[in-house]
């Protein structure tokens, strides 16, 4: 059955069984992944997947389900169960109907690449190219993941929405090691092969690993910090996640009760753009069928908007920002507006500071306040009088999201789309320059 037929059948069946509103997404994806470590492939993974997700509303109750058992009998049974359950669950306090369609949607460019869709055994060649590049740049070992996906999905709703979209995505992360602790990381990704540069990612990882061999001392304390793009992507993945109204309302955001406040320095401009060419998260419609659009989250450092679906929008007295997520709204592609500095220039601005390429294992002491610490790695260097003098080990970055946002002083010109494993809040991609942030706090373990 065609995806659009399937999603539309689910909607009409749900209505027939007694639902007030139904939305259904039927999707098909094929993904290939190559995991590598110690300069060799560890495993190849191939995923062939059809699934159906259902949102059902009845008497102001809300239920969702998702299944990979897509036989008609099984889906009908699921729908019956959802309708029955609706008579029991309590009414949702911020109930809002689905948006009334139909809508017309933007045509996205550069989000489907046949070469990515058909990528087969030649994926191994990309991996080999990345590994060799890392080794040539001075690493001993390279590890990482290459993933290529093609995805097609169809959304139907009982309020007149019928929309289909297809996209591809390719993503490479390389971590190179020059010894057990001297490591570097490089990333290359996009919806298409347009900006996909596996050798560059491998080479960057290898270069940072080689540079990390020369170790210098650094004490705990506050440093002016240049964040490399992988680290900046982790940071703004958190900012984007905390901008979701669901997390704002759950105690998991430092942006709660701060709309309209200066939460960052005036140099900071962050927005969500679902329509950008080559964006891994690009999509013309959200899960409720609304046409997606650019949404400003932070402008000149002021928190302008949370990300909403219809329900959270109602609760906050706003309009949906077309970021559904039926339950939790989320970002599509986060863009951090770049600045005026060259990468080297940014480093030359630092008298006494650090360059941090990656942030991993971010954990919060207090989500509401924004206090966290993170393991920094994959290129952490001391900067003295505008020059990198050596690698630093053992330091842990321990600071606060709002404090860091407020101390952003400069941004580089060159921005890159980044997606990697340590972006734990789930933003599909973050486009970010490097950032110079003052007064960042670091700690050391006791000897």
């Amino acid at each position: 059955m065609e995806l659009s037929e399937l999603s539309s059948w689910v909607v009409s069946k749900g209505l027939e069984l007694g639902a007030d509103e139904v939305a259904s997404i039927a999707s098909y994806s094929y993904s290939r992944q190559i995991r590598f470590a110690n300069n060799e492939v560890s495993i190849t993974n191939n995923w062939d997947s059809v699934s159906v997700s259902i949102l059902l509303k009845k008497n102001r109750r809300i239920l969702v389900s998702s299944t990979t058992d897509i036989s008609r009998e099984s889906i009908e049974k699921l729908l019956r169960g959802m309708v029955d359950a609706a008579s029991v669950v309590r009414e949702h306090e911020s109930y809002a109907p689905l948006p009334e369609g139909p809508f017309s949607y933007a045509t996205l460019r550069g989000v489907y690449d046949d070469r990515v869709a058909e990528l087969g055994e030649e994926a191994v060649d990309y991996v080999e190219a990345a590994i060799n590049s890392a080794l040539e740049a001075g690493a001993e070992r390279a590890a990482g993941t290459l993933t290529a996906t093609r995805l097609q999905y169809s959304l139907s709703t009982s309020r007149g929405v019928s929309a289909t979209h297809r996209k591809t995505g390719i993503s490479l992360m390389v971590r190179a090691l020059a010894d057990g602790e001297a490591a570097g990381m490089g990333v290359s990704c996009g919806a298409s092969l347009k900006d996909f540069r596996p050798e560059e990612a491998g080479g960057k990882a290898g270069e940072l690993a080689r540079m990390s061999l020369k170790v210098v001392q650094a004490d705990a304390g506050k440093y002016t910090t240049v964040l490399g793009r992988p680290a900046a992507a982790v940071f703004f993945d958190i900012v984007a996640g905390m901008a979701s109204a669901f997390y704002v309302d759950s105690g998991l955001s430092c942006f709660t009760d701060r709309l309209g406040e200066q939460v960052a320095s005036e140099t900071v401009y962050v927005y969500d753009d679902p329509l950008v060419e080559d964006g891994l998260g690009s999509t013309p419609f959200d899960d409720e069928g609304l046409p997606t659009k650019r949404n400003t989250i932070i402008e000149s450092g002021v928190l302008r908007s949370y990300l909403h679906n219809s329900i959270t929008a109602k609760r906050h007295g706003k309009k949906s920002t077309a970021n559904a997520g039926w339950i939790a709204p989320h970002a599509w592609n986060i863009i951090v507006e770049s600045g005026n500095y060259g990468d080297e220039e940014l480093i030359s601005e630092v008298k006494n500071g650090l360059f941090v390429n990656n942030m991993t294992y971010v954990r919060f002491q207090d989500y509401r306040a924004g206090d966290f610490s993170t393991i920094i790695r994959d290129g952490v260097f001391k900067i003295e009088n505008g020059e990198i003098v050596g690698a630093v080990r053992r330091l842990r970055l321990s600071d606060n999201v709002l404090h860091m946002l407020k101390h952003v002083r400069a941004l580089s010109r060159y921005s890159q789309q980044i997606s990697h494993w340590w972006m734990e809040w789930g933003t599909p991609s973050v486009w970010t320059p490097q950032l110079l942030i003052e007064d960042v706090n670091y700690t050391l373990p006791a000897r």
Binding site: D48, S49, L63, D69, M82, V89, M173, E181, G251, I375
Partner: protein, 474 residues
Amino acid sequence: MEELADFAVDFAQRLGVDYAEARFQVDYENLYVLRNGNPEAVSWTRRRGIGIRVMVDGAFGFASVNELEKSRVENCVKEAVSMARAASKTLKQPLKLSEEEAHEDSWKVEPKISFLDVSLEEKMGYLLEIDKRIADEQEIGVKIPQRLMELTEVITEKYFVNSDGAHISSWTPRVYFMAFLTAYEEGRTEQEFVERGEARGWEALKDWNLPELLVERSKLLGRIIREAQPPPRGKVDLVLGSQVVGLIVHESAGHPYEADRIFGREAAQAGESFLKADMLGQRIGSEVVNVADDPTLEHSYGFYLYDDEGVKARRRLLIKDGIINEFLHNRETAARMGIKSNASARANAFDREPIVRMANTFMLPGDHSFEELLEDIRLGVYIKTFGEWNIDDRRYNMRFVGRECYLIENGELKGLVRRPILEVTTPGLYASIDALDGNLSFEAATCGKGDPVQGIPVWHGGPNVRVRGIEVWR
């Protein structure tokens, strides 16, 4: 579906593979979310399909499919084989698997009260009852304006078959509860994260006594805001509570003892290990330190009897009397060390490769009483629960910030202290443990590892433990 899985293995063998396995798995997951007293969602997820793993020319290939027709399964096997073949050219040496007994078995964890026999009304009603109590500022003594609660029930059915002749079926129920609470008073917040989980039916909820537990934890948050004083500075003695000990052994014993991490397979993701394969037999802690990982603990959240490579499960003693004793292995890592697998291979769904995982990791209890641990501490801190936590990617340098903590003075617990910070090394901490009490308890968690990330149910636990001379910061 069993025939389809059997067919997948036969078909793979006809294509000339070195090894093949197929796992048909269904996970029925029901999730109930209550946010600030509002039923945010009732969510049902059904993940169902077949995952096939082959070894061809010494390389691994995995493929999964959920449209369960023969032609799709055939295609799936062909993809796994052809991609593995292409990957084999990158290998300096072919990968190997340890020789293991092929079991034919079927096992089930029987719930006393099935989830299906408990109405949705009762389940939501239970969450609402808890919420009502903790939202009552009069009873709790502080505002808890943000209360996120999740109740999850999962039933996992598996059928595993491999080219060695193993056939294993299993059926496991699991129930899990999570609460994230934010207390707020005069601009100050304190947050608490509570988790419980077991491989049991609905009867587990009764034993957990969640309303009283959440009321107690909520009241405590208010007390921390109002009463907690700065912790002592400098080197002090510590007593670490079971929750903290459990997390410590999970992160600094369990993870670095995963043999695939030791061999570098997770280098690009969570990282490697400060341990090397030839460090077995070396000292890592004091003689009183024993750490085990055991999938066979009855009703444990990480319970299983055979792993996802068909190997029979048993207890693994990672650290024995302070000595590095055993790693966690699958068949690939075991072959590399010339030993048998100790059944640590787990996959969290049909469409994920099995990788080395923990099950239930804990420090073995000792023979002191809790009071005896406190007795000769002149100045110290009892860190009962933790807030922030992380550890470096070789599992060597850990940091945690205490949540519920008390001053210890001259052998007695005194008042609450606020957010003591510890940053210590793994050997430094383990060498400083000098006594343990007999109060073993566990907490549930979902451990993340692999790419794509696989969240797997685990327990971690321990007794209360005394640690001498650790630097504490504010």
